[in-house]
């Protein structure tokens, strides 16, 4: 399969009054079309900066990244659903289309179809505070999918949820991603999530981060919850845990 994204020697520094903080030190990575790659690292290691750079809302300091398409559409999802409380579910779902001035009849129909497929149709005219956390997360994903992104960047999208909903929602979201066949880069600090959901896991070192190891994951099931029960899962989990070298006091 073709590479959809090539990152070469990427670097990122932040400049503050207290001095320069190097967040990313030399990252090179290729992402194949249709692949789900999870980047794990300890908190504050610079993994969110990496996604921010790819999403074009932060500047890189050095190096380059190239998408196979000249002008790729990028879908970006953040730590919480970031739904606008004063807009209805439908209005929220088409927000990205509106901003990007792509709110054509055809695209709006597509959003309506997505809302219907993922059991949100009856909530179209409701407001976010009337929905459960998992439902809101699905709306946020549909808002991103509405733009028909070439690549999805998910920045710890489930971290605001409690453990139970987190398992259910991540399964939900990944079923959608697999069904729509979208290349995805997920950033997470949750090893279990990374191993059970993705095709490859990239382990980052502590700040300034660089790639420590890359694991190919071949777990038997499409259901991440079933995957968590396999022997391979536990082995990978332990291995990555060691790689991360988290100091627990």
């Amino acid at each position: 399969m073709n590479n959809i994204l090539e990152i070469t020697n990427l670097e990122k520094s932040y400049y503050t009054k207290q001095g320069e903080i190097k967040a990313i030190k030399n990252i090179s990575l290729q992402v194949k079309e249709g692949e789900i790659v999870t980047i794990v690292g300890t908190s504050g290691c610079g993994k969110s900066s990496l996604l921010g750079i790819l999403a074009n809302i932060e500047n890189k300091s050095n190096g380059l990244f190239k998408f196979s398409k000249a002008k790729p559409t990028i879908g970006y999802m953040l730590q919480n659903d970031a739904l606008f409380p004063w807009l209805t579910i439908y209005e929220n779902a088409i927000l990205g289309l509106k901003i990007a001035k792509k709110d054509t009849m055809e695209n709006k129909e597509y959003v309506k179809k997505l809302l219907k497929t993922y059991n949100l149709e009856e909530f179209n005219n409701k407001y976010p505070n009337e929905l459960s956390g998992g439902m809101k997360q699905r709306v946020a994903l549909i808002r991103t999918l509405a733009l028909k992104p070439d690549i999805l960047l998910l920045d710890e999208p489930f971290s605001a949820l409690d453990y139970q909903s987190r398992l259910a929602v991540s399964k939900d979201v990944f079923n959608i991603i697999k069904k729509e066949k979208i290349t995805t880069i997920l950033v997470s600090h949750d090893i279990g999530e990374a191993v059970s959901l993705s095709d490859r896991v990239v382990v980052l070192s502590k700040r300034p981060c660089s790639i420590k190891k890359i694991y190919e994951i071949n777990l038997p099931s499409d259901n991440p919850i079933d995957n968590r029960k396999t022997k391979e899962f536990s082995e990978l989990y332990d291995q990555i845990w060691k790689d991360l070298d988290v100091y627990v006091s």
Binding site: G52, I74, G75, Y76, Q79, A82, F84, P85, I99
Partner: protein
């Protein structure tokens, strides 16, 4: 749905309490008025200095018959609404400017603080010289008082915008104007609306102060005129009308606030 006995008890208690509060409020007002009237009539309070409720009513009635009352009220109302409207609109626009140009906000910050802490009456004489002894001076006076409060309030509301939502819009490729239109302004609706209430109180202060300084008409003028001719009945009448007017305007704005905030979230 049927109500439990305890729920009924609770509601009854609430109702009783509300009635008691209203009863006490009325009692205080009526006692105050009667006491005032009686003491003035018995000359224990000098009615020439303290006036009395009946004298005040009579004065208001005479002013009304003679035809000047309505024009005093409409003059003051006109000034209040003009200053209020300009204050809110200008405050809103300047807040947007400060929000968009962060360096500008940093530059003007100490000046805003200085202006905010200055007692604006001190500028009264200069204003009269600069813009003339007319309605304009009153509006400028009121703006000096209400504008800075509006700017600071609305600006702080804008600053409270959720960073994650800004990032999200940026990832959609949103322009600065789109971020304002879709996120910052609708997200600050609550702050903007609650600044209306603060603004109207400030406007009232500004307008009356302005009228004290320059006007030939209006409630503020009525009060000052009464003092100058030493007719305390007119002064008191002016104050009573002002109390009623402010109360109605303030309640109106509160009602507007409730209406605007109803429904969503």
């Amino acid at each position: 749905m049927s109500m439990s006995a305890n729920q009924k008890k609770f509601l009854l208690k609430e109702k009783k309490n509300r009635r008691f509060v209203i009863f006490m409020q009325l009692l205080i007002i009526i006692t105050f008025l009667i006491l005032w009237e009686v003491l003035a009539n018995k000359k224990i309070l000098n009615p020439f200095i303290f006036s009395s409720p009946t004298r005040i009513c009579l004065t208001i009635k005479n002013l009304f018959i003679e035809g000047s009352l309505i024009s005093h009220i409409t003059t003051t109302l006109y000034e209040i609404f003009l200053a209020f409207f300009i204050g809110i609109s200008l405050g809103f626009l300047i807040a947007i400017l400060l929000y968009e140009i962060k360096t500008l906000a940093k530059i003007v910050d100490p000046f805003l603080t200085m202006l905010n802490s200055l007692p604006k009456v001190a500028l009264g004489p200069i204003i009269i010289i600069w813009v003339g002894a007319n309605t304009k001076a009153i509006i400028v006076m009121a703006l000096l008082i209400n504008l800075i409060v509006s700017i600071v309030n609305i600006y702080n509301g804008f600053l409270g915008t959720d960073e994650i939502k800004i990032k999200l819009l940026k990832s959609f490729g949103a322009s600065k104007i789109q971020i304002l239109r879709y996120l910052v302004i609708p997200g600050s609706k609550r702050t903007i609306i609650s600044s209306l209430k603060l603004n109207i109180s400030m406007t009232l202060i500004g307008v009356i102060m302005g009228e004290f300084l320059v006007s030939k008409k209006g409630i503020g003028y009525l009060i000052i005129y009464g003092t100058q001719v030493f007719n305390l009945n007119i002064v008191m009448a002016g104050i009573v009308i002002l109390i009623i007017l402010s109360f109605i305007i303030y309640e109106g704005v509160s009602l507007l606030e409730k209406k605007l905030l109803q429904g969503k979230n």
